[in-house]
Symmetry: C2
């Protein structure tokens, strides 16, 4: 089997190895710092030692599962704590491919680059439905692509890379479609705390046994290196199936990180999240204004960390991204890494305080 790994890390290496100043707009690592509860929780854990340093329950620390179950109003036995949102998606995709009829996964184009590789690794076939130019997903277009072979529909809202946020009508129609075609909807909600529109709708709002929702603390608490996420599965039985794969893949999740996350959830005021969101919204405003001034086409993100832009005559290729790194001192991702529909677009992550400077450099270059 051959499957492609995303090129994020290659471009991050290329950026890190540049011998001149480069503004990093590649990575999705929050730069605004974690709430103090993360450090405090890790300090607390470090002193426990002994039994507390040993395997957590495979499905995750009970108190952490209870906390997130209560937040979402679901039963605790539907929650499996995972090694980041990445593992939660892997488990959910495996469930769809193994337990639902067919082995096709319907992804969006543009697509988060890990999805196709995961699907292929799991023996599934990746198929695509095009999003609108502004990133919105038309449920009728999804319906038109459904077949008896479609085991899985994977959506991501707020979206990476477009910044689109799917509202209530889109989500409810998606749930209707997977129920009608007996497929599993995987709703990846890693960016759920970063909705600027107020329109974000979790797939958990629909009481459907055809929906898995994945979440992550990586972005929410600015701890992408801690590796804590979770899946909310349709039933205890399907959560058990996901837990079994989790167990066979890596035995158990990460106890120090789960402990720190639990501590942080209990001690972090809502203001932390509001401030992160406001900071990010300001950055989007600054950057989109600059793109408008350059005459570049761009998405108008309602949420998430990313924006896509198109500069006339400048293809969204790895070669062109390296030229931008070398000549403009701005690193971003090539649009062709996100599917066929955005080969002349670039994706910018706004995880840097140097947005104005980056915009000035891009304006000078183009």
């Amino acid at each position: 089997m051959d499957y492609n790994a995303p090129e994020f890390f290659d471009l991050m290496d290329y950026t890190a190895n540049a011998d001149h100043d480069v503004i990093d707009m590649v990575s999705g690592n929050p730069d605004w710092g974690s709430p103090p509860g993360v450090s405090e929780g890790l300090h607390e854990y470090a002193d426990l030692g002994g039994d507390e340093f040993q395997y957590p329950p495979t499905e995750g620390l009970l108190e952490l599962r209870e906390t997130v179950a209560e937040e979402h109003g679901v039963s605790t036995d539907r929650i499996v704590i995972t090694v980041g949102g990445g593992e939660a998606n892997y488990l959910a995709m495996a469930l769809g491919i193994e337990r639902w009829p067919g082995t096709d996964a319907l992804l969006t184009d543009p697509v988060y680059p890990y999805y196709p590789g995961k699907i292929q690794m799991l023996g599934g076939t990746d198929r695509y439905v095009r999003a609108e130019v502004d990133g919105r997903l038309d449920p009728d277009a999804v319906r038109a692509r459904m077949t008896d072979e479609t085991a899985l529909v994977v959506v991501n809202s707020p979206n990476n890379p477009t910044g689109a946020v799917y509202g209530e009508s889109t989500m409810s129609e998606l749930v209707d479609i997977v129920e009608e075609y007996d497929a599993l909807l995987l709703s990846d909600e890693a960016y759920d705390h970063f909705d600027f529109s107020g329109r974000f709708t979790s797939a958990l709002e629909y009481d459907s046994d055809h929906v898995v929702v994945t979440k992550s603390f990586s972005k929410t608490l600015a701890i992408t290196g801690f590796r804590v996420g979770y899946g909310v599965f349709p039933s205890a039985a399907l959560a058990d199936a996901a837990r079994d794969r989790h167990m066979l893949t890596l035995t158990a999740g990460v106890r120090p990180s789960q402990h720190a996350v639990l501590y942080a959830l209990r001690s972090t005021a809502p203001e932390y999240h509001e401030q992160s969101r406001e900071l990010l919204a300001e950055r989007f405003e600054t950057f989109t204004e600059a793109l408008d001034a350059m005459g570049a086409e761009h998405t108008s993100p309602d949420g998430g960390f990313y924006i896509m832009a198109r500069f006339d005559g400048y293809q969204g290729s790895t070669e062109n991204v390296k030229r931008l790194i070398d000549e403009a001192g701005v690193a971003c991702m090539p649009g062709d890494g996100f599917g066929d529909s955005r080969t002349d677009w670039l994706r910018f992550a706004l995880m840097t305080p140097r947005i104005e400077e980056a915009a000035d450099r891009l304006a000078a270059f183009f």
Copy 2:
């Protein structure tokens, strides 16, 4: 696809939920405490925050990879740091099944219960070669079971569950066999620091492009909950292939844990490991003497954490283990969880200071 998860966790739950005192001889969680460097390293990390809380390189922290590469005398680009030894085995098995001819994996009977489920999950077929009653593996028996379909041979030394340690001649013959049949040898050496015989031989001592070695800090530093292990792959190209699957499965490993492990490796004196080993050797002596006094047949471990024992007329079933928990107050694992050859044996983990008390309870029960 259906695959079975091991029943460790079920029996640990049963033990934990008992309303009377039970001595836990199920789990492989070291009870002697971690070296202080683990806590110190975690405290140091907790204060770093910011960028240091974000994704580590997918293949693991460079300094940690360099440290283990130097220890083994291999190049750093052959090392991938994983989420525990469990993930390292998953990656190595996938490599064997995907990249070598055939899809059969030859496992030993008795077998570490995670192996069959992992192989089945990866689309391989688990086949078995019987170990001797004392746990030794006869290379001629392995050779007799090799076919063109054998992609993978999986061994574990020091062995879970028998305690056997494979010496130089066994390991060199195993390497010869996989080279002759063009298969991959996966040598799981998670218990390499717990050899009482001085005979332990790492598969890394043979310069073969048909060998993957997996290691773990879980037992060595008594941190099963931290999830740090690694694979030493035959080449940089195969390490890259393993890293790609690692990336697609869970994006990246665990930075706080890797930081703490690196700190501990730099600050832990050899005496820590000697003392753990001596403590464990004493426990084995105590327990085997007691088993002899009871007239029970048993393995005579040269290493590892476990011993298998057979009590005449008492089958090694889950039902009988639960009876032992209920009536004797000793929890162990049923032999039938380790394959077909040990259905009338029980496995005892010696991760408790209450060895004499457990032996007394068993003597009273039988």
